[in-house]
Symmetry: C2
Subunit: 337 residues, 2 copies
């Protein structure tokens, strides 16, 4: 049986809730581990951290760890702590990202830096990194530590790469995908591969899990990129047009710029290159993107990644967990939020 | 022989250069390791990181690791990489500190955030943390990882504690010393104790090294606090009065506030509690502190810590490295910069 076809079929009928139901008990334990490790005698730490971890977080990355571990045949409890590690790393990067981008909203709520200021967001992000680090050292596996420390280094370099290319309207599709792979897909890849390490699986299974995470992570990001030029604010849980307003060049714009006439190039250079935006510019951006069909092209790229992810699962034996990973890959590009 | 008396005598005659000379070759290897691990395809990373690691950094913390390892009898090479880890953690916290405090100068030069902006400083700080993490995982010792991950968690909590007590003029001496121990002394303690782990020494030696680092770190911080109300800008390498201008409550002020009359309390509440400063206020702050004699009291506290540090070295067998650690403790409170 080919995991790909089954996964694609199920994706349309499935939902994130259904995927989560398979590991509901484990997810609840991950939440308890997260909460226990937010405790601090300094009240600001759990207060600010909970604002981010509770605020509509979908726990997609820990879900990948839990399902990856089960699909690889792992029967123990170590995946719980490591799933919390993955979520802590993710949350820390969100906090620092919002400072870097000067974002005032996240998932429809005020961002932590908008409420508590940049200083608190930087330091609580550092706290979450340090707790992630402590938890993975407590797990005690050097291969897992190697995997996650390498992932952390790649993620941060991706963030810096994104920072230095901000406003560069001539960014190519390949350059952009390099940032996405480093900044977003790398943590998904590590989240999936952790499970393989827990059972000391062979290199082919490890490579398959890594590939799955890499492609799912890319599919999620590209779908986010597409939704930000299409979705309604109340559906995505974040205000549409955030990428545009913050001057982030994402795939719909990068493809549109490559196809642009002089007038359109001038528009992108002004609004995203120089960050000079006026009322009505986002509507104009959406209009150009609609004409060029680049949201659809971005979504097509996401579907290819999702299919790649499902195909990568072939290295695993059939199981409900493997099916759930395939469903999740389907959801990565079919979701509306 | 008691390490204390010998150490104290030598301290007056010694200099940091003389202490460093004992491990000059090792320090050069630490610098090479630091430079090799700053390499990145994203040019901003080494550029910004070098600005901080080169800018008058005295390499005190790696020096403690190198000397601690040798004094504990370690003969191998692992202390080089771990000394670089300690310096990376230190540099990362400097970068984030300057963002948190909005500092525009460090050691007489423009701070990294003043040149490259907060976003770059946050991310390059994260990069240095991630490289520290990778290097210590590469070292491969779980006890060392445990030591350093715990230290990182304590340091960050100290930073947050400092943030939430900013401007609280009624901070007690004990509360302040708790911040200093977490924020500054913890990394010195870890830097010293690493050496003990490399030779798998007994708990008494480990406790002695930890105590040495804790007390030396505190002595360095309290001396910094004192110099900032006394030193000339060109001697300390940073503009005098930085603590005052940035509203940091340090020991000279905390003791002065406890002794203050109503007029002085009003002065501190306005300038440091509310951060409302006018030209001439720093001169007035120095005048009050001179009258109250609290710089001298702070320096006395530093001398006690330095003596404690030297006494803690008694658990180690006599050696040139142990003597150099004692000299360093003497320098912590006798230095003019």
């Amino acid at each position: 049986m080919n995991a790909a076809s089954g996964g694609e079929r199920r994706a349309d009928q499935s939902s994130l809730a259904a995927v989560k139901a398979l590991v509901a008990e484990d997810l609840a334990r991950v939440d308890r581990t997260i909460n226990a490790n937010l405790a601090s005698s300094v009240a600001l730490i759990p207060e600010l951290a909970r604002h981010v971890t509770d605020a509509g977080g979908k726990r997609i990355r820990p879900l990948v760890t839990l399902l990856g571990a089960r699909a690889a045949g792992y029967q123990g409890n170590r995946h719980i702590g490591l799933a919390a590690v993955i979520e802590f790393i993710h949350t820390a990067t969100l906090l620092h990202d919002d400072v870097v981008d000067n974002s005032l909203e996240r998932r429809g709520l005020k961002s932590a830096n908008a409420i508590w200021g940049n200083a608190a967001s930087v330091l609580v992000g550092d706290f979450l990194f340090s707790q992630a680090f402590r938890l993975m050292v407590a797990d005690g596996s050097l291969p897992v530590l190697r995997l996650l420390s390498n992932a952390a280094a790649v993620i941060v370099q991706g963030e810096v790469l994104q920072l230095v290319t901000t406003g560069k309207t001539t960014t190519t599709e390949d350059e952009y995908l390099e940032v996405v792979r480093a900044k977003t897909a790398q943590l998904f890849a590590a989240a999936a591969a952790v499970g393989g390490h827990l059972v000391e699986c062979g290199p082919d299974v490890l490579a398959g899990l890594d590939r799955y995470g890499d492609q799912v992570g890319t599919a999620f990001q590209l779908t986010d990129d597409a939704l930000d030029y299409l979705g309604e604010s109340h559906e995505t849980g974040k205000p549409t047009g955030g990428d545009f307003r913050e001057g982030r060049l994402t795939l719909p714009v990068i493809i549109a710029y490559a196809q642009a006439d002089q007038r359109e190039r001038d528009f992108w250079d002004r609004t995203l290159g120089k960050g000079q935006q006026a009322p009505g510019d986002f509507a104009e951006a959406c209009r150009i993107i609609r004409c060029r069909g680049t949201v659809a092209l971005t979504q097509e790229r996401a579907v290819v990644c999702s299919d790649n992810a499902i195909a990568a699962l072939d290295v695993l034996p059939p199981s409900p967990s493997r099916d759930a990973l395939a469903d999740l890959a389907g959801l990565a590009c079919s979701r509306k939020q």
